[in-house]
Subunit: 233 residues, 2 copies
């Protein structure tokens, strides 16, 4: 366990963030990266404030070669970091399973993680509507056509920021328990992987939703599709 | 959506990390904090390297009033941060559901997040065995009695670090869609919450596990218990 799940490893980025331990887990597979980013809904944004790290979880969406996040025009350190053109890190991780080896040391977790490094860029005002729509369509596909339009006031209080997927550290462990016939372990002990699944539950209507109101297409698509669900490792 | 899921908010910590927007979501409920930390298995550690943030996902476990993580003695910036007594941030987030309001702006996510700020402290050598056991028992309860003992060499290559739960920013959104009878929205539109569940899947034995080897108690306890599973919001 404390062998393989250290996770103290990142790759595919510029020094000094390139950490070379466990380099075999590096992957440059952009398909895998996009799949991770298109399935997970929450990431962690890290910025530096007065020399110390500050982290917040944020909803996000991938739009082509960028991640989109949003902040209030009134505040938020994401906006400050953008204004200062400070380098930020945005991390997205999916835990796919626990790996039970025949020693605690070799026990592990299956996971996929991506950490994007770069400078947050405010989306230009004339592109904000499109960016908000892209963000919405990623997080709640189809919902925008079911509800009223976003008002000018709402749009004015929102800033969309984007982060280029240029400097990305991706790591994947998707394998069984490390083992060999002659490794001296007792092979009569069960070893294997317990996958972790994630799925949408039963939609619960709000109190003001009239009885009998049908669950909308956007929710049906969500709960019957695999958006947000995790692959089984 | 871009109203409520901003997440650009943290609380219950020292300035300048105290960000006051959306302060109503602050919670000082230590029970809720412990429940989050005892259910989630992976967090994100952020440190500052050369003025920029560096983030890695890491397995972790709560042990009383501390979080435990582990690193190799050979490297790892967690160990460096500990040696330098640099302030780090360790973030743990559970996404509990998507909130479909009648406007995109008010749509949101239900979630629980904790960000722990502090200095990583190496666990003393004579306390390392106990800390490793605590870490193991948290991540894979019961497994330590099913496999061989950890060797001296394995122990020697592992350092356990701990982080006091003194300076914690916790935020929780666990509510339905924000709505009022007179808010001008079209109440014939469905609004509500779609919970996100997580559960362990079917254990898959490794190739070297002899056919018929029973799934061990530790795995049975995991898959039939709620360790790692998320509460439904």
């Amino acid at each position: 366990m404390y062998g393989d799940t250290r996770f103290v490893t990142t790759l595919e980025t510029t020094a000094p963030r390139r950490i070379r331990r466990l380099a075999e887990r590096q992957t440059t597979d952009r398909t895998a990266l996009f799949e991770l980013l298109d399935t997970e809904l929450v990431g962690h944004l890290a910025v530096v404030v007065d020399g110390t790290p500050l982290v917040v979880p944020m909803g996000f969406a991938r739009d082509g070669e960028h991640l989109l996040v949003h902040g209030s025009t009134g505040g938020g350190f994401a906006l400050r970091a953008a204004a200062e053109r400070a380098t930020v890190a945005f991390a997205v991780t999916a835990l796919d399973g626990l790996v039970f080896a025949r020693s605690l040391y070799d026990s592990s977790m299956n996971y996929r993680s991506a950490v994007v490094y770069g400078v947050l860029e405010p989306v230009a005002e004339d592109e904000t509507d499109a960016a908000l729509l892209a963000l919405t369509e990623r997080l709640m596909p189809g919902r925008s056509s079911e509800v009223r339009a976003t008002t000018r006031k709402e749009q004015a209080s929102t800033r969309v920021l984007r982060l280029a997927l240029d400097d990305v550290v991706m790591k994947v462990r998707a394998a069984g328990a490390g083992e060999a016939v002659d490794d001296g372990e007792d092979h009569s002990v069960w070893a294997g992987v317990v996958p972790l699944r994630r799925a949408w539950g039963e939609p619960a209507a709000s109190v003001l939703t009239p009885a009998g109101t049908p669950v909308p297409d956007s929710v049906i698509a969500l709960t019957t599709g695999d958006r947000g669900s995790r692959r089984i490792s």
